[in-house]
């Protein structure tokens, strides 16, 4: 009886549950962080009423969203309309299983880890397209079209900038990438720095964050692709968006900021419980640092225009990341790493 369930499966199920829980908790925290940061940037306290300093605001909001009626517009394609939110939040959660939170804290260390994450993250655009199309609303459709054009364009520099790291390390495996940065983070090399900047910008665009939040540009498209969503449908989009942000930040941390490695003088590379906790802390500090910058940017800048967005991608990001990649190839040939 006892060997009916292989321990690996138990491990997987437990880890998956933990990952899903983490995704929900993350979204709850991020919504609060976003509103608090926004508030303080705008010189107001943000949510303040529920719980001490409004800490429970998101929980209440979540409850409210769950309690709301799910409305489906008359002309909408009902099945697709209901599918879209799920499509938006499942893939990023699935992608979390290859993220190395610490040396031993990784659900699956696939040898195509980077590719796995990117391919799952790209499903997000499909969710937006489905949502926009099935809503039978012109504004939603515009949002969907914008999202597709934007995400397809920005996928290229995103990949190119990650290829810099992959080329250097010679592996797609997340743990290899982290291991290669032991005490020496890629962001501190010239090529790594440029790649990191490009990755960060494209990451903003991929997650539809301001100033690239064109699919939901509220002053133009009222609410873009999720105009027609209410209640938990809308909530799932939110969840997906914040999980996507987490994912983007996690990849950036893994590929450029040394993953769970602390700075060289504080690096802990053991596999014990304490070491794992320290590593986890480092990882989360970096991830949430990046997310904080993303939030900070959102509340500072105006939104770019659609043609400018694409021009910026094709005329600036792609050429520079190409050049960066070539430079990396040359340097990697001359100065082999490890």
């Amino acid at each position: 009886m006892s060997n009916a369930l292989p321990p690996d499966l138990i491990r997987l199920v437990v880890s998956l549950a933990v990952v899903v829980g983490f995704a929900f908790a993350n979204a709850a925290v991020l919504v609060l962080v976003e509103r608090k940061v926004c508030g303080h940037i705008q010189r107001r306290p943000g949510p303040f009423e529920v719980g001490p300093h409004g800490l429970l605001q998101t929980a209440i909001d979540g409850l409210k969203l769950m309690g709301k009626q799910i409305l489906v517009p008359d002309n909408a394609d009902t099945k697709l309309f209901r599918l879209a939110p799920i499509l938006s939040f499942v893939p990023p959660i699935a992608a979390l299983i290859v993220v190395p939170f610490a040396k031993v804290l990784q659900v699956r260390d696939l040898d195509i880890g980077v590719l796995f994450i990117l391919s799952l993250a790209a499903v997000n655009v499909l969710a937006i397209l489905v949502a926009g199309w099935s809503s039978a609303n012109k504004y939603s459709l515009f949002g969907a079209i914008r999202a597709v054009a934007q995400n397809v364009a920005y996928e290229i520099p995103l990949l190119l900038s990650l290829l810099v790291v992959v080329m250097w390390v010679g592996s797609f495996r997340m743990s290899d990438i982290v291991a290669a940065q032991d005490g020496f983070w890629f962001v501190f090399t010239p090529m790594g720095f440029v790649a990191f900047l490009i990755y960060f910008v494209t990451g903003l665009a991929e997650t539809n964050r301001a100033p690239f939040d064109l699919p939901e540009a509220e002053s133009e498209l009222t609410a873009g692709f999720h105009t027609e969503y209410a209640g938990m449908g809308f909530g799932l989009f939110f969840l997906g968006e914040y999980t996507n942000m987490l994912l983007m930040a996690a990849i950036a941390t893994t590929c450029f900021l040394g993953g769970w490695n602390g700075p060289w003088f504080l690096a802990v590379s053991g596999t014990g419980v304490v070491a794992t906790l320290i590593q986890l802390c480092w990882f989360l500090v970096k991830v949430y640092g990046i997310i904080l910058v993303m939030v900070w940017i959102r509340w500072t800048f105006p939104r770019v225009r659609f043609d400018q967005l694409l021009n910026f991608c094709w005329k600036v990001l792609i050429p520079i990341s190409m050049a960066n990649l070539v430079a990396t190839a040359v340097v990697a040939k001359l100065v082999p790493l490890g």
Binding site: C38, I41, E218
Partner: protein
């Protein structure tokens, strides 16, 4: 002619408004789009029509005065100023100089408040959420001061025929001086956060170019005309009140694009500060209310009074028949003409640019609909 869906063309007819975040009120713009390019933009107005002109013909001037502030919630005092000036012109009433100075001070403060409101709303149209809260911080300061002297925050009802309702007190004057110092510093914040910002520049520069001839043809005024290189400001070309005694410049820009209009408005805030400062220094003593007859008889005859409201030239055309109720009152709100050129300017621009252009025109829909 409102664009209708046409199946033979691959175009999309989009109803923007009457409820839309960036139409600032109940304005509806019917668009024919090719992809995201606007082929035709057709503003539809009148959703907030309240027939103020008819009310002007059945109420006495002082009774109608309260309506004036309801037309332009942003710059109610300019509207009030124009109204009392027009009535005083037709009734032949002399206003004490102190009252006229007070009118100018409060109007200019209100103009700053209006421009700050516009600043925030414009940036909101462009997708920047934070500037509106910074500008509202400053605007609150003005509104608190104006509330102290007029008793209300938005629809001030402060002017009286032949004067103003309440004299300025020391608290207002001191507060205004504090505000003048503070606002000059805050303009730097706006410059850093917005004017220099590359995204903002790219969004606003070269977008919605209105040339001089279009301005003349459509009778656009205010910052829209001044952004197109016309130094047309009623305070200078047709001086009224005590503006001839005050030193200030008319900021202009020649490009005629949204960014030019933005710059003109910010420069105008500085000039308003100058005006307020000078007017405070020169504020004469004396009464703030002239003796006016109980029934202010108008005419017979007609009078035209133009004033510079925050959004442009505001005209009152009053026809009196000798009674205390005007025979005809025509209000020419600035945004009416400014909006009418939207259809011409918005051909071939992107949907996002349309939002920028509408924002840069600084439309206040209730004054268009009246």
């Amino acid at each position: 002619m409102i664009p209708r869906p046409d199946p033979s063309q691959e175009t999309l007819v989009l109803n923007m408004g009457p409820q839309h975040p960036s139409t600032h009120g109940v304005l509806r713009v019917v668009l024919r789009l090719d992809g995201e390019y606007v082929l035709e933009a057709h503003p539809v107005i009148g959703y907030g029509h309240r027939m103020h002109e008819l009310m002007g013909e059945v109420r006495t001037s002082s009774g109608f005065y309260a309506n004036v502030g309801r037309m332009d919630y942003g710059g109610a005092l300019s509207f009030g100023h124009g109204h009392v000036l027009a009535v005083e012109k037709l009734a032949g009433i002399e206003v004490p100089p102190r009252a006229e100075y007070i009118r100018v001070i409060t109007t200019e403060m209100n103009r700053i408040a209006s421009h700050l409101l516009w600043f925030g709303a414009f940036l909101l149209d462009l997708g920047a959420f934070t500037p509106i809260l910074y500008s509202f911080d400053d605007r609150e300061f003005i509104l608190d001061l104006l509330e102290h002297v007029t008793g209300a925050r938005l629809t001030f009802s402060y002017h009286r025929i032949g004067g103003v309702a309440r004299d300025l007190d020391d608290k207002f004057i001191e507060g205004t001086r504090v505000f003048l110092r503070r606002m000059r510093e805050r303009l730097d914040v706006y410059d850093k956060l917005v004017t220099g910002n590359v995204i903002f520049r790219k969004r606003a520069e070269g977008v919605g170019v209105i040339d001089k001839d279009t301005v003349l043809k459509y009778g656009a005024t205010g910052p829209v005309a001044r952004g197109s290189g016309l130094a047309y400001d009623i305070r200078r070309v047709e001086p009224y009140s005590v503006y001839p005694d005050l030193e200030f410049e008319i900021p202009t820009a020649t490009e005629g694009d949204s960014f030019a209009r933005y710059r003109v408005r910010l420069a105008e805030i500085e000039q308003c500060l100058r005006i307020v400062e000078q007017a405070l220094d020169r504020l004469p003593d004396g009464p703030v209310q002239a003796k006016v007859p109980k029934k202010v008889k108008l005419g017979p005859g007609d009078a035209y009074q133009a004033v510079e409201a925050a959004r442009g030239e505001l005209d009152y055309y009053l026809v009196g028949d000798g009674s205390d109720v005007p025979y005809r009152m025509k209000i020419r709100p600035p945004s009416f003409s400014n909006l009418s050129l939207l259809g011409e300017v918005c051909q071939g621009v992107l949907l996002s640019d349309l939002v920028t252009i509408m924002g840069s025109l600084d439309l206040v829909i209730p004054e268009i609909d009246r």
